[in-house]
């Protein structure tokens, strides 16, 4: 027959586990005290129907001692032995068929131990509210405790902590007030400093009937931000406000919220509860029906959490829909600041997409146009390369054709989605469309410009560039330089290699050598331009080559490309050749 043994638990080691691994900061001791106090008051309310005088008071000997008092249910002697002296035993467990009542916050029975992170002893004075003697319990980190009868003690529980060296900060009035606000702002039990009337944890009683202005003022007080908008969240699992930040923020920002579980602060991080796009919001939320993790610093992932997330999404969406109908100016402002976040949402959420698409803006050849404007225009082409967009923009503008740039984050998804959703004649810019933008010359024209095109291509070969004659608008533009992203990168690699030495030069050379085929850029010579028409009549190949090199550099400058050293040099040389040529003919 096997024997049964008990584990020996080293309380000092346990405290190390708590302080270094379970809790992120010693300041949670106040959260645990608040939690126990509120649960004791909740229990007394249940056992004494009609009693509604629950309150918590905190007295301080600044920097030295903190006395935390609740007038809740208190403990009997048996309760003290059972609940204060056994780790993992909570007075709140197994109260209702093995389940913790919904209105109790704590559940693990380890909270009081967190006080050892700031105090070398925990002194508890307690008297049961339903009658019976009072006791003083003193616990120490070595696992020992004493229990003595107590005469002078009113019903409820008082916890007395004395600051450990190094923990004095937590016993200062300012710190305590801040921690009460931080952890217990939403608690349904008032918290006071002893002898004072000002409640430390006051918030609006009912957000549902609170006006927008008051909500925004509350947000400013709580977060210190002048928010753009306040979104009421009132769902089965959630109650509170989501505030819209007045500035852009990075998608990786997940913290800065105040998320409570049953009115006690659980976390500042929103990544478990809130959808990924909520980074432009700061939320003050009280949750119910969700399960905390053992450290009470986040939520347990389960179906209830998923439902709460869906409720949050629904509430934000409903509010924005209402704004679109009733206060479009606020919506415009919100979209202007948070377009990236909203675009990220709209990619995945069809109803949000339909709600916002009219207000979101996109880079086009006619400047930034909203989705609504694009819907009205009904046609256009998109390019996914920002550089290609820049190259083609003046041509599209001159030809009264709409070009949309989808090279920015999320626009690559949203523009095709816009075209599909509203059956618009908006599609990608295909090569056959380019033939319309840059019109192919007729056979006659080809013959006329043959010498020019050949001389120019020869002159530009050292720059990996081909010359081609096309007809396009505006006529004032004699030549257009276009290159793919690949060519652009090649140019950059070549330029850098010219400058570099040693290992960087080797690495850049490997990149150039590794390319299967050296891509070429194009210099389009505009047959609508008087200059090109005039050059088509010149027969001197040398002269044509010199002009082609000048046109090439001019087109690079017009396109905003960085010039390589050889290109600047060729410009000067070509100009000299022109002068020599002119001199020769005089």
């Amino acid at each position: 027959m096997s024997e049964s043994f008990h584990f020996q638990v080293n309380l000092g080691g346990m405290l190390d586990v708590l302080s270094n691994h379970l809790y992120k900061s010693p300041d949670v001791f106040l959260r645990e005290l608040l939690q126990n106090g509120v649960d004791a008051i909740t229990q007394r309310r249940k056992e004494q129907p009609g009693w509604d005088e629950g309150r918590i008071t905190i007295a301080l000997a600044e920097g030295r001692r903190l006395t935390f008092r609740d007038n809740g249910m208190g403990l009997t002697e048996a309760g003290i032995h059972r609940f204060l002296a056994v780790i993992g035993q909570s007075s709140k467990t197994q109260l209702q068929d093995g389940r913790i009542p919904e209105d109790y916050i704590g559940r693990f029975g380890i909270g009081l131990l967190s006080c050892f992170m700031v105090s070398d002893a925990i002194v508890v004075h307690t008297r049961p509210a339903d009658g019976g003697p009072a006791h003083a319990w003193t616990g120490r980190p070595d696992g020992t405790y004493t229990l003595e009868p107590l005469e002078d003690c009113s019903p409820g529980t008082t916890v007395i902590l004395t600051a450990r060296p190094g923990a004095e900060h937590y016993f200062q009035r300012e710190a305590v007030e801040e921690l009460v606000r931080y952890y217990g702002l939403a608690l349904p039990v008032p918290v006071y400093f002893a002898g004072e009337d000002r409640r430390l944890n006051a918030i609006p009683d009912d957000f549902v009937h609170t006006g927008r202005g008051q909500l925004l003022s509350f947000g400013a007080w709580l977060f210190g931000e002048e928010f753009l908008e306040a979104i009421l969240i009132h769902t089965p699992h959630l109650n509170g406000v989501a505030f819209v930040l007045p500035y852009q923020t990075d998608a990786s920002v997940k913290s800065g919220h105040r998320i409570y579980l049953k009115y006690m602060l659980l976390t500042e991080r929103g990544d478990r509860l809130l959808p990924p796009w909520a980074f432009f919001l700061r939320c003050f939320l009280n949750t119910s029906g969700l399960r905390p993790t053992a450290s009470r610093e986040d939520f347990y992932e389960d179906g209830a959490l998923e439902a709460a997330t869906a409720e949050f999404e629904g509430a934000v969406r409903a509010h924005l829909e209402r704004l679109a109908r009733e206060s479009p100016d606020i919506l415009e402002e919100l979209v202007a600041v948070h377009s990236q976040a909203i675009k990220a949402m709209a990619v995945w959420d069809d109803s949000l997409f339909r709600l916002f698409i009219d207000h979101l803006t996109f880079e086009t050849s006619e400047g930034r146009l909203s989705g609504g404007k694009l819907k009205r225009l009904g046609r256009g082409e998109w390019v996914s390369s920002v550089d290609r967009f820049r190259q083609l923009k003046p041509i599209f503008l001159a030809q009264d054709r709409l070009l949309i740039c989808t090279g920015y984050a999320f626009d690559g998804e949203l523009i095709p989605k816009l075209a599909r959703a509203f059956s618009l004649a908006i599609g990608p810019l295909r090569e056959e469309s380019m033939d319309v933008v840059l019109e192919e010359p007729t056979l006659d024209e080809r013959q006329q410009v043959f010498a020019l095109q050949r001389a120019a291509s020869r002159a530009l070969a050292p720059f990996d560039c081909r010359a081609e004659a096309r007809r396009f608008l505006p006529a004032e533009l004699p030549a257009l330089y276009t290159m793919s992203d690949e060519v652009q990168f090649f140019r950059q690699v070549q330029t850098a290699q010219d400058m570099s030495r040693g290992v960087f030069s080797d690495a850049l050379a490997s990149l150039l050598a590794g390319a299967e085929e050296r891509p070429a850029a194009s210099l389009y010579l505009n047959l609508n331009s008087r200059l090109i028409q005039r050059l088509a009549q010149v027969e001197d190949a040398g002269l044509l080559g010199s002009v082609a090199r000048i046109l090439y550099v001019q087109a690079l400058i017009t396109g905003g490309y960085a010039l390589r050293s050889g290109e600047l040099k060729t410009m000067s040389e070509a100009l000299l050749e022109l002068l020599d040529h002119q001199g020769g003919s005089i």
């Binding site: 998804e413 990608p428 330029t495 570099s500 030495r501 040693g502 990149l511 590794g514």
Partner: protein, 365 residues
């Protein structure tokens, strides 16, 4: 009097600094480099280049850092004091992304890769900082070349102190998860990933990188059902730009077995970017995923896709045969795998590709 506004690096820097990380910020930095070059302002020529090098790998093809880095160090060699007090930090920030490029570019010879690692090591020795980072980058590189050497660097990484140049805690944790999976220590990987999966550690790249590592690891074991929940999370938050194309590859590989429509949509959306990518490391994962997706869809009739015209098998009607696509993607992935293995003198990539092929059709749709 000229109407041109004089160049002010400080003002430009302030406006760029406020921009969230992304394509728009990168463009602004490129523009700023051009303006500083034109103004001949040495300090800002260097500073904006350094900022660009640091940012580009987060949102675009990290290969683009290389030419700018070449320019940066050429300028700095010529004017060693050009950055004043910022010299140390900028040298580190610029040398780091290039030291990592050996993992991404098989066309760099082993000598060049080690030279780039050496450039970072020079800074480490010179300033007696950044040792932890350097060991980590070496560990990542040698993990595909010489596992014993990688383990030595890993141990040295763990021994080294955290300093200003160390990766963020989330990236370090993610890196350790990746290494545990790389050497097949699954329990250790799960232990290390706990603080990432519970949200305690996160940054721009984490948890997305960690999801990617686990998705690949699950799929290598034929466990697509375990990979799917992670894939769904990665799909919603991690596919943002070209720097995420390896994630897209893993997603296509996973969705091949459970959400082929989503896989096909990802292929259409990202193919153009993948074709233009220089970063062969990321391209490999993309092509591998596309290969598994198209292979798994074989026999289901033509696949409607919106692929770019630069794709060699491009069709005007947008209807693609999965056999031809699978063959093409496999050939591309194999090319890259062979190039890496040739350079590294190992067979890791070839084996990894074979492992992906093992599960095709094992779990019919």
């Amino acid at each position: 009097m000229s109407g041109q506004v004089p160049f002010s690096g400080e003002a430009l820097d302030r406006s760029i600094e406020q921009m969230p990380r992304g394509t728009i910020k990168l463009e602004a930095l490129q523009q700023a480099i051009r303006q500083a070059d034109q103004a001949g302002d040495l300090f800002w020529r260097l500073r904006f280049r350094c900022d660009y090098i640091f940012d580009v790998g987060f949102v675009d093809d990290k290969t683009k850092a290389l030419p700018v880095c070449g320019e940066f160090f050429a300028l700095l060699d010529e004017y060693p004091d050009g950055l004043g007090n910022l010299g140390e930090m900028c040298r580190f920030l610029a040398a780091e992304p290039c030291a990592e490029l050996g993992v991404n570019l098989p066309q760099l010879s082993m000598e060049t890769c080690e030279g780039l690692l050496g450039r970072l090591e020079e800074q480490v020795r010179r300033y007696r900082k950044g040792e932890r980072l350097w060991h980590w980058i070496c560990c990542e590189f040698y993990a595909y070349v010489d596992l014993d050497r990688a383990k030595e660097h890993y141990a040295a990484f763990q021994r080294s102190k955290i300093d200003i140049y160390s990766d963020c805690r989330a990236c370090e944790q993610d890196g350790m998860v990746w290494f545990a999976l790389h050497i097949g220590d699954w329990p250790q990987a799960q232990r290390l990933a706990a603080s990432i999966f519970d949200g305690s550690r996160e940054c721009h790249d984490v948890p997305w990188n960690t999801y990617h590592s686990f998705i690949e690891a699950h799929l290598n074991r034929g466990e697509w059902k375990k990979a799917q929940p992670l894939a769904r999370k990665l799909l919603r938050g991690g596919c943002r730009d070209k720097s995420d194309l390896e994630y897209v590859g893993s997603l296509m590989r996973c969705f091949a077995f459970c959400q082929p429509d989503t896989g096909a949509a990802l292929l259409s959306r990202w193919m153009k970017d993948a074709l233009g990518l220089w970063d062969a490391g990321r391209k490999y994962y993309f092509f591998k995923g596309a290969w598994v997706l198209c292979s798994q869809l074989r026999g289901m009739g033509p696949l409607p896709l919106d692929l770019p015209q630069t794709f060699p098998l491009w069709r005007k009607d947008g209807q693609y045969g999965c056999d031809a696509l699978a063959e093409w993607f496999y050939a591309q992935a194999l090319d890259i795998a062979q190039a890496f293995d040739r350079r590294n003198g190992t067979g890791w990539y070839g084996e990894n590709l074979a492992l992906a092929g093992r599960w095709i059709r094992e779990d019919p749709l």
